[in-house]
Assembly symmetry: C2
Homo-oligomer: 478 residues x 2
């Protein structure tokens, strides 16, 4: 295509897309485009010819067919709440953003089959609410749930606070409808717990960050609503004690543990400093804390008694130094508030490098020690802000400048070196450098360092097989 | 390749493979080959140049490289306990069977990470036992567990009796090592609950029945050992009452339900007739039964009390007509024996068409009525033997000749027509024609009838991308 031919061809593409999605479904005005061209944290900025907002799978398919014919790149976008820039178009422009927000219908709720069928543009919290109204639980839960769209949750295989018990978004999905890169629709919208009639194609699309197709609808699993919840904050002497406590609790209370979060003392201090209305959770300060939650469907059962007995044993073995068990909903919220405001408190404190890593649970204590020593050696005084989903082996391991040093300068100068220390430590222990935040633009170079040639080749082979034109979210993941 | 060149080339291939796997790893004698060339039920017979039994992933890789160089077909085989002929070589011969049984080491058990790492040739029961010895549960459990190999369980995404609570083999897998069709090794042997660094490649191999690569090792999830178990057989008036009972039990007792099996009166009668030592489980005969099991990790909790209360409510609502709750291990075994000997009792009774179907749980009652009516209309007097994992929406729906008619003649003459009635009924209700038995040779033609062109094309695209030479288990699945 020559330079002079491009505007005419472009106009024609947008006219054709506009004819499909209607005037309210096509955004071309520069000011209106702006919110779709940057991620919510403002780390990534891109360009696009337009934003298309189709209202149905058929409209998505028709738009994709035009893009395939004209080799126009497509960046699928949900609630734009991602952490790795996967939904931000490239700076080079020339493609479209395909935003799913108009496809926000709940198509079916089958309480007896324990499934809910939703369009990709449903807000996560609305799906949770619809399930609740039918006496069921949809357990996917994360910070952005009030604005993220389920299509994005599935495209990134979202995690969150209930993974220990209910799994990631992948584990909660029974069926998908996907518009393929050639504009055909694969209708795998099945509500089956067992189906072994060939390759499980939905798995290929979940977690592929929009690089293989566009998820337009899904059948999701529902669960019994927990009517008894026990929430406790326990002080532990060290991460190893936290791991042993988790093992003891699983032995005694089984898989009713729905959350098991580790929090370092520094996190608690940041929250107390920056978040109004928070207060010291236990009588004394301790080096490490665990926030544990257990839940069961029945009322009036023995869960609380069993948990207290297990905690007594943990105390006798020196695994727990002190603990507070929430006696009311307000107390429960106060404990969770400490955990949930750590990211906000960290932001207020200053710039930091975020790492979202996973490691086998048994090796988390080694990782914390080894990474801490290596960082202190290379960057004396650099402060680690360590917390996360210990039950899943997932740490949010963040690093900020030594006290007194300008944070921005430290971040700019030392980012690569800090990443290297943290990620090398993760790799040595058999871990992953992106547990729940995906690859997007942020970790695209980084995964090449840690994955084998065979693995990268396999990923490329899948990409080529499904998207031979390379129009789906180019520049992301691979 | 000309006809005269083939024997020399063949000899050379086998010599090269023999040099890798050693004399004890290569079977070429016709009598010794025989057990590997037919499935255990004797439905399928094939031919092969040899059986290779490698002792390590590296040996598997070296064998596969030779096969790729010489375009020699490979049929991976585990314990040869499959139901669909996926592990039986084609009658045309010319390829090798690659049997994994020598790779039977448990590589690691990490109790704190709740993972076990095993070679593909481990017998399922040995993995269960290793987990038990470490105070953990590996929940995959099925009839063939004393002889099936975990590699086969993963290649077919095995189901079994604990899927309701713990999921299929896929859900129990965290990592895989796979020898690719070009002989390279993909090492994805990770023990992580969260890893979003690109496409989840293990999902492509699980359930692909050896058509995309050879699984040589796996990291599997472990769970707390249940120390309290409640087992009950309940008579229900109809399948719809069974579905309502499941919903009520989940509301009251949560996801501690580990099995929920439906059994028709005819199944119980067959068991009483053919299986020595069984007896009528309740005071009177009833049209349908449910075998339910609940389990939790703790001892001395309230599970039994909660279950009894729920069953009382079910009785008040007319969902349960009578019930027996096992008061001892012996009573529990007697209840399970009724369920587990149905296949054997059916075999003794005579030939039958087996269907392994799944349907949304809510639509199972419709399916049972509709298929029953359609079969009675087309084949008056044909007897349906209906039982299965109702909690998973999975029925083993078998049909045998009307009383007095020779079974063999009926099967031969009417098989296609019966299949059509059952599978069309399944498809109408959004179900699957193979819930846990896979495709293999048995359902290869049949899936083409029920899958869309887009879905079959996607499967073929994946196959071509990973196995462009088509040497991996040709003639299976696709």
């Amino acid at each position: 295509m020559t330079g002079s031919a491009r505007p005419a061809a472009t106009a024609s593409v947008l006219e054709r897309i506009g004819a499909i999605v209607g005037p309210q479904g096509l955004i071309t005005d520069h000011r209106d485009l702006e919110p779709y061209l940057a991620d919510w944290r403002g780390f990534y900025h891109g360009a696009a010819l337009a934003v298309a907002r189709p209202a149905s799978s058929d409209q998505v398919a028709a738009v994709v067919r035009i893009c395939a014919e004209t080799s126009t790149a497509i960046v699928p976008q949900g609630g734009n709440t991602g952490m790795s820039g996967a939904a931000t178009p490239p700076a080079t422009g020339g493609g479209i953003v395909l935003q799913l927000g108009r496809m926000n219908r709940i198509l079916e709720l089958d309480a007896l089959n324990n499934t809910i069928t939703v369009e990709a543009g449903c807000i996560l919290a609305n799906i949770q609410q619809a399930a609740r109204s039918a006496g069921r639980l949809f357990p996917l839960s994360l910070g952005a749930e009030g604005s993220c769209l389920i299509g994005g949750n599935l495209a990134t295989n979202a995690g969150g606070i209930n993974v220990l018990r209910y799994g990631n978004a992948r584990d909660l999905t029974l069926g998908l409808r996907v518009v393929l890169p050639d504009g055909r629709v694969w209708d795998g919208l099945r509500g089956l717990r067992k189906d072994n009639t060939g390759y499980d194609l939905k798995q290929i699309f979940i977690g592929s960050e929009g690089t293989l197709g566009i998820i337009t609808a899904a059948v999701l699993k529902l669960f019994p609503v927990p009517r008894t919840t026990v929430t406790a904050l326990a002080a532990v002497p060290a991460p190893a004690a936290a791991v042993d406590l988790l093992s003891l609790l699983r032995d005694e209370c089984g898989d009713r543990i729905s959350a098991f979060e580790i929090i370092s003392r520094r996190c608690v201090e940041l929250v107390l400093k920056h978040i109004p209305g928070t207060r010291e959770p236990l009588a004394r300060a301790h080096p490490w804390y665990v926030l544990a939650e257990l839940a069961e469907a029945s009322e009036g059962g023995s869960l609380q008694r069993e948990f207290e007995r297990a905690m007594e044993r943990a105390g006798e073995r020196g695994l727990v130094l002190d603990a507070a068990i929430a006696a009311s909903g307000a107390q429960r919220e106060a404990l969770w508030r400490i955990r949930e405001t750590i990211p906000e408190a960290s932001r207020v404190e200053g710039l930091l490098y975020r790492h979202d890593v996973s490691i086998p649970v048994s090796r988390i204590p080694d990782f914390i020690v080894e990474a801490g020593v290596a960082l202190e050696h290379a960057h004396p005084g650099a402060r680690v802000i360590c917390f996360g989903h210990l039950g899943d082996g997932n740490l949010h391991y963040n690093v900020t400048a030594p006290a007194g040093l300008p944070a921005a300068a430290f971040v700019e100068r030392e980012m690569s070196a800090v990443n290297r220390i943290v990620h090398d430590g993760v790799a040595r222990l058999g871990g992953s450098i992106s547990a729940e935040h995906g690859v997007g633009q942020l970790r695209r170079e980084e995964i090449r360092r840690y994955k084998s040639a065979a693995e990268l080749d396999l990923m490329r082979a899948v990409k080529r097989a499904l998207d031979p034109l390379g129009i789906m979210n180019p520049g992301k993941v691979l």
